[in-house]
Symmetry: C2
Subunit: 183 residues, 2 copies
DNA sequence: CTAAAGTTTCAGTAATTATTGAAACTTTAG
DNA sequence: CTAAAGTTTCAATAATTACTGAAACTTTAG
């Protein structure tokens, strides 16, 4: 499988970004290739297109499967595994967010909860705990909120997104509405 | 400067998480130390507390300053620089989000815009461009939306956060209100 | 103006993380 | 059941990224 220059540009760039997004370079390239390729492709085709080792492809596919970003696909009379992306681009973003939350928030949140159970030994620790409480509340807020967003239906999410600066106005409406319903 | 076990636990953990958050281990430790320490401290105190080299501290402080996460502070009759965190924990989260957006979104967005200007050479590229458009729209949506959020006043942000699953209900209200105002 | 105290830089080295490729394992056509 | 084709694992190595510490530079008290 040969990539056109346009496709190669995108795939390579996505690889570079991959590490910032939470997976390594080759996993990023592999995912990009799968996103822009219409038909399911085999591990060998991926290795060939990207010039990376077969072993590396196998590990990358495993990781993408664990993130539920790709799907297995079989062709009749062919025992080879073929792969294609799973779900929409939106689903992919959701998975990335969730995975990152697990890695970037959850461990800290759990540590903070533990520390906050301790009784401060002196003034210094008293002040420290206060700060830790703030960090905790922030992380918890973000965590809860992001999982709420993920629970919204795609249409509502879309409305919310398109709302943009309108979010502020809607919040105002909320106040008015609540007032009215209390009267 | 000696850290109590509680403080050390937090500082070390924050260091480990640092790399996932966009800065390296020692920068993470330094920031954590500054967050939980009440009074401004000097670069030497930081180096001593964390047992890291003076040079490393200097570079870390520079990075934290460029992120606007810390502030310089001077004591009378002392030409040494002292440091303390800048702004609330919320401000810190905002900075981190913004910095990450710059690193993780902007370069891809700009590449995608370029590619999408090209005319697809064949069916394969036609399909690829369609996918790239989807990725582009997603990233643009997230980018725009997150900058809207940052523009909201802290109070509104807080309301929005606390709203949680209520977001869906408010969106429904929006529809009703719009309808009513059209009648 | 000088020297003492403080700060920054950066080349070398250490630590971490990613990748290869050969060997072990698995599957199924015949 | 066998062997050919395909897949997975993992130890060795490469590539990347972080850290040290000594040297160069900057600032200001006296």
């Amino acid at each position: 499988m040969k990539m056109t220059p346009m496709i190669e540009t995108f795939v390579m760039h996505f690889g570079e970004m991959g590490s910032r997004w939470g997976f390594n370079r080759t996993v990023g390239q592999m995912y990009a290739l799968l996103v822009i390729t219409k038909d399911p492709i085999s591990a060998n085709q991926i290795a060939e297109a990207l010039s990376i080792s077969r072993g590396n492809v196998s590990m990358g596919l495993k990781e993408l499967q664990s993130w539920q970003l790709i799907q297995l696909h079989h062709k009749p009379a062919d025992r080879k595994d073929y792969f294609q992306t799973n779900g929409s681009i939106w689903d992919m973003a959701n998975r990335v967010f969730e995975e990152r939350r697990k890695r970037e928030m959850d461990p800290t949140l759990s540590l903070l909860r533990d520390i906050l159970l301790d009784t401060p030994a002196n003034d210094e620790e008293q002040h420290a705990q206060q700060k830790l409480q703030e960090v905790h509340d922030l992380l918890e807020g973000i965590t809860k909120w992001s999982s709420e967003l993920q629970r919204l239906s795609p249409e509502k999410l879309d409305t919310l997104m398109k709302l943009g600066s309108g979010v502020g106005k809607v919040l105002d409406m909320k106040h008015k509405l609540l007032k009215r319903s209390n009267e």
